[in-house]
């Protein structure tokens, strides 16, 4: 049994490593392709999306559960960093470190409450949690600035150096995104990661290797919260303004859809999803009135075309081809042995 698993597991980890290199490569190459202030701004957003999706990938791709709380967690990270720096004069570095911790705790709390539910119920519980967070951002006016947003967030700074230049903002986001991707990769090829994957595929498998599905899922959800916290803090220091509208239901949905159509569970999924999200944002802007309609149609088509994700779909197709090749080879063998059967099949 173990020896049979070892082969595919090694292939999988080799593939994950390749995909990690592509991700890291793109983070370096993209700003070389276009480095105007605006392009760097776009790449920074892409890096933030990448962190969000890498986090979401733990719960969506690996544990196989859809979370609609990621936008709420993203917002919680942004507000935590923003409120800490604006209202309590916390140094940005410390705020960037504290925000993910807070979000992780909240994610674990929500996870403890909802993790034993079946897939679709879990999704709706995360929807509820995300919505409560979103509404609180707008309602707790004294703390968050309410619907008008939180103004006056300082730029990120370390030792007196302010990260105001677009290239520095991108550098910060890209470095964190890269660290996040490497950490995700190492975790996924580790023993826990394999257990998580096994659980994502089948619960009995997880139980067979002695893993606790509940704890594994909770770990995945906590990680998704941690990454969302980092992304949120980066968003706060990038825009230097936080308002509830950024973290609404649609954002939560777009994150899930982008990851699903790109390839949930794969190392390459998050970067493809992040490029897709930024790409759509940039292009939809040229079609003011038709933007929602286009967005909906694009996603419907994408979900229909790639229900298992672009990456997953390609893999499945190859598998199909291999199977078909194998079947026709088998058929040829059958023909050689038993010609009358084939004849019958043709007549039929």
């Amino acid at each position: 049994m173990m020896s049979r698993l070892a082969g595919p597991a090694r292939t999988m980890s080799r593939r994950a490593t390749w995909e990690l290199w592509i991700t890291l490569g793109l983070l370096v190459v993209l700003p070389m392709l276009a480095a105007t202030d605006y392009a760097l701004h776009i790449w920074t957003r892409m890096a933030i999306f990448l962190i969000l999706l890498t986090g979401l990938n733990f719960i969506q791709g690996v544990a196989g559960m859809t979370s609609l709380a990621q936008a709420g967690f993203f917002g919680l990270g942004a507000y935590a960093a923003g409120i800490a720096t604006v209202r309590h004069d916390v140094p940005p570095v410390l705020a960037l470190a504290l925000a993910p911790v807070l979000v992780t705790l909240v994610a674990l709390l929500i996870g403890v409450l909802s993790m034993r539910l079946k897939e679709i119920y879990f999704t709706m519980a995360t929807l509820g949690a995300g919505f409560v967070l979103y509404l609180l951002f707008g309602r707790m006016v004294e703390l968050t600035g309410g619907p008008n947003g939180l103004v006056g967030i300082p730029p990120f700074s370390v030792g007196g150096v302010e990260f105001t230049e677009p290239i520095m903002k991108y550098g910060l986001a890209a470095v964190l995104a890269a660290i996040g991707a490497i950490a995700a990769h190492n975790l996924l090829v580790s023993r826990t990661g394999r257990a998580l994957r096994a659980y994502g595929a089948s619960e009995p498998a997880a139980l067979a290797v002695g893993a606790s599905p509940f704890r594994l899922r909770l770990l995945a959800f906590g990680l998704s919260g941690f990454y969302a916290g980092v992304a949120g803090a980066l968003e706060a220091f990038d825009s230097r303004f936080v308002s509830p509208s950024t973290f609404d239901f649609m954002t939560a949905v777009l994150l899930v859809v982008a990851l699903v159509v790109s390839g949930a569970g794969r190392m390459i999924g998050p970067i493809l999803g992040a490029l897709l999200l930024t790409g759509i944002e940039v292009f939809a802007a040229d079609y003011a009135d038709y933007e929602p309609l286009i967005m909906g149609i694009v996603f419907l088509v994408a979900v229909q075309l790639f229900p298992r994700g672009v990456a997953g779909e390609l893999a499945a197709r190859r598998e199909d081809r291999r199977e078909r090749a194998k079947r026709s080879a088998d058929l040829a063998a059958d023909v050689a042995v038993d010609a009358p059967t084939t004849l019958k099949a043709v007549q039929r």
Partner: protein, 393 residues
């Protein structure tokens, strides 16, 4: 394995290239024969109706100016984006306008105060003048922190002062206030709770969500304080529900009021009998044909209403269309004064030196300390008489 990686690479490269294609498209603004003005209004999302009216107002201004030969012979090249009510999209689009589209002056702040507040630091850091069309006074106050930012909307302070003046004149000391939970309602609530107590007016407040379908609990709850007037502050259709609910719970005799965000004939008509007698604080625009001909604003409003109806199939302009039109025209006047130089500081100085700009929503008097330009004199209390707006007595 080998086959897949190229496919994936191609996939991502395509996406990447398409995304950065726009980034490198360079600036074509600042040429000799055009001036590039950038605008954001949310024409989709929950404030779509209002954003669309603003776009129509601004578009009319651009069309008129260009038809008249532009600004010292240079035509306006108008760049428009729809942030759909989302601030982070708006931040991205503002960067795009300034870095990639060559926008030299920004007019219109996305149709929501939150967006305008997010745009202001970006335009300021680029040294670009920004004329907002959103309400919150924090967009331009304090003026010394926002040297390049202006707005052509009423400060809520001004509206609240007018309300207090009206209440005092009518011996009203107890008011029930129902703001929605959007930034529009929130800003007004802050001002009313700050200014009313000083004027000896007791305000009891119950907020409501713009998506609420029944407001009778709030109305009945506030009725417990025996208020003499009920004031709602919203731009959303929930204001219709407010009118229906107040009349249903309290009958036809109570004084019902709305803020300037609800000055819209369509809303009034849809509330049916419940809207009759509603009082609203508003610019004079909705009653342009009823005010004294000697008012300097009268001909400007008349021309605007006629041109707007002509441009948009007989539609009557509302306050939002007027504000956007005014913002664009203030920008144009300032650019004419600088000889077409869009430099932020020069434009700002020119706006402060305009003296009185008679617009369709008021007579703007911008100064170094006041980047909002409108005063209590520009506000009217108007009344819906069941079929049209009339000046209130």
């Amino acid at each position: 394995m080998r086959k897949k990686i190229p496919t994936l690479l191609t996939c991502s490269a395509l996406l990447a290239l398409s995304a950065c294609g726009l980034g490198s498209s360079g600036s074509d603004g600042g040429s000799d024969d055009t001036i590039t003005i950038g605008t954001l209004f949310s024409v989709s999302g929950s404030g779509a109706n209002l954003g669309d009216k603003m776009r129509k107002g601004a578009a009319l201004a651009v069309k008129q100016v260009n038809a008249d030969g532009g600004i010292d012979g240079r035509t306006i090249d108008w760049v428009f984006y729809d942030p759909a009510g989302d601030t982070s999209t708006a931040v991205q689009q503002t960067n795009r306008m300034l870095d990639s589209d060559g926008v030299e002056l920004v007019v219109g702040g996305g149709g929501s105060s939150g967006i305008a507040l997010a745009m202001d630091p970006i335009t300021s850091s680029r040294g670009v003048a920004f004329i907002a069309t959103e309400g919150a006074r924090q967009i331009v106050e304090p003026a010394e922190d926002h040297p390049l930012t202006f707005k052509t909307t009423f400060n809520d302070t001004v509206m609240v002062e007018k309300l207090i003046e009206f209440w005092q004149a009518n011996d009203i000391t107890r008011v029930a206030f129902m703001p929605d939970t959007s930034s529009f309602g929130q800003s007004a609530q802050e001002e009313l709770e700050r200014l009313a107590p000083e004027a000896g007016i007791e305000v009891s407040t119950a907020a409501f969500d713009p998506a609420a379908n029944d407001l009778t609990p709030q109305v009945k709850r506030l009725a417990g304080n025996d208020p003499q007037a009920y004031l709602a502050w919203t731009i959303t259709p929930a204001g219709v529900t407010f009118l229906k609910n107040v009349r249903s719970v309290l009958g036809d005799d109570v004084m019902v009021m709305h803020g300037f965000g609800f000055v819209d004939e369509r809303y009034m008509t849809q509330a049916g009998a419940a809207s009759k007698g509603t009082l609203l604080v508003s610019p004079k625009l909705p009653v342009w044909d009823e005010i004294d001909k000697s008012d300097e604003q009268q001909p400007v409003m008349e021309d605007f209403a006629a041109a707007y109806a002509d441009e948009y199939d007989g539609e009557q302009p509302n306050v939002y269309a007027g504000q956007a039109y005014d913002a664009m025209m203030v920008a144009v006047e300032a650019l004419r004064a600088t000889g077409g130089d869009p430099d932020g500081e020069k434009v700002a100085d020119a706006i402060e030196a305009l003296g009185t700009h008679v617009g369709v929503t008021g007579a703007f008097k911008f100064t170094a300390d006041d980047h909002s330009g409108l005063s209590v004199d520009d506000v009217a209390v108007i009344r819906w008489d069941g079929s049209r707006f009339m000046p209130a007595k």
